[in-house]
Symmetry: C2
Subunit: 187 residues, 2 copies
DNA sequence: GTCGAAGTAGAACGAATGTTATACAACGTT
DNA sequence: AACGTTGTATAACATTCGTTCTACTTCGAC
């Protein structure tokens, strides 16, 4: 066994580079050469860790999803605070979350005509909906199917604000986004 | 003056073909050759009506925007119904509106790294926000700055539902989208 | 009927892309 | 110390893209 390199870490470096590129200049800028250069490597290394571009993009998408999922670390708080934290995680209030959102939008667009991507998108959203619904139940806001409906409404409201904030940041500083979230939870 | 062809009509045919392609298979599928073929023409004709691909895409985007704007024909109704109709126009409840939404998402993704596109996106949204705010005022729901805030909340809720409906149509048939809209307006 | 501008088609070109192949460097094993 | 596997870089390949160029058609003006 020669030359020890943490394969998973390398793959993360490469998908991170792809995500940065996509967030900065769109998915069209994420060419094999550009991704490799952004990661400080060569296309030879890139193809060594990903069979082809499709695999690279799929992994980039799923890495972005799991990154957002891992950000939902909610312990030691009451249910209402956990719910609030979860929804706040879906707002582009800092550069990191903004980057995640740009990647998400890019893959939403890419999902047209790519069934595998569309399925991944849909499943990720349903998982998120279930997560929010569970927290809605724990917070005692609603139960059963009603909790799912409330979760959908919460997510819709937050996603809508997020989209507006993404493309009109001047109108939507972080405080205003959080104020909108508070208004939503108050009702 | 030889050979009379309605230039504007031809341009619409071409941007329509581009929009169909983008909605069906993503913006990556909207190559010059594919767009020309979709419109039943050749690349020679395409370049005859659009200087380059960038102009074609910009015109396609603006045509999609103005198409949605012209759909807001609201006369002979009370203010509340007009508001409802405007917001319903932003829901992907039929193939046409669904197509408009797919094009919008595609250009949202494209707006990363393209300032001109990002500006157009932002301005279009602000125009829509003003339109909704005016109808909110007429409906007597709120006045002045409050009307704008209410408009933003309405748009956010509708956009959020739209995004969910786009990528999970099974969970969001037209009736459910409209029910969500009614719930929103009732509160 | 002839001429010229407008429309259309198709080929051709350079640039860029995804992919593959080849050569070299690094390190554990024997 | 020699070898084989892994990692990395670079070059080459075929394809596809946007764009440009050229030829042909169509129609009104004279």
């Amino acid at each position: 066994m020669p030359k020890f390199v943490d394969v998973e870490e390398r793959r993360v470096e490469l998908t991170d580079a792809a995500a940065r590129l996509i967030a900065r200049a769109g998915i069209g800028a994420a060419t094999m050469r550009e991704v490799a250069a952004e990661a400080g490597l060569s296309t030879g290394s890139l193809t060594h860790y990903f069979a082809d571009k499709r695999e690279l993009l799929l992994c980039t998408f799923q890495a972005s999803l799991s990154g957002r999922r891992s950000q939902r670390s909610t312990r030691g708080q009451d249910a209402a605070s956990q719910l609030r934290a979860t929804l706040e995680g879906a707002l582009p209030v800092d550069d990191d979350r903004r980057r995640h959102w740009m990647v998400t939008v890019a893959f939403c667009a890419q999902a047209a005509g790519d069934d595998e991507l569309a399925d991944a998108q849909r499943d990720a959203y349903r998982e998120f909906r279930g997560h929010v619904a569970r927290q809605v139940e724990r917070a005692g806001i609603a139960d059963g199917d009603r909790a799912v409906v409330v979760a959908e409404r919460f997510i819709a409201a937050v996603d809508g604000v997020a989209i507006q904030a993404l493309f009109d940041p001047e109108s939507w500083p972080a405080e205003r986004q959080l104020a909108a979230l508070d208004d939503l939870l108050r009702a």
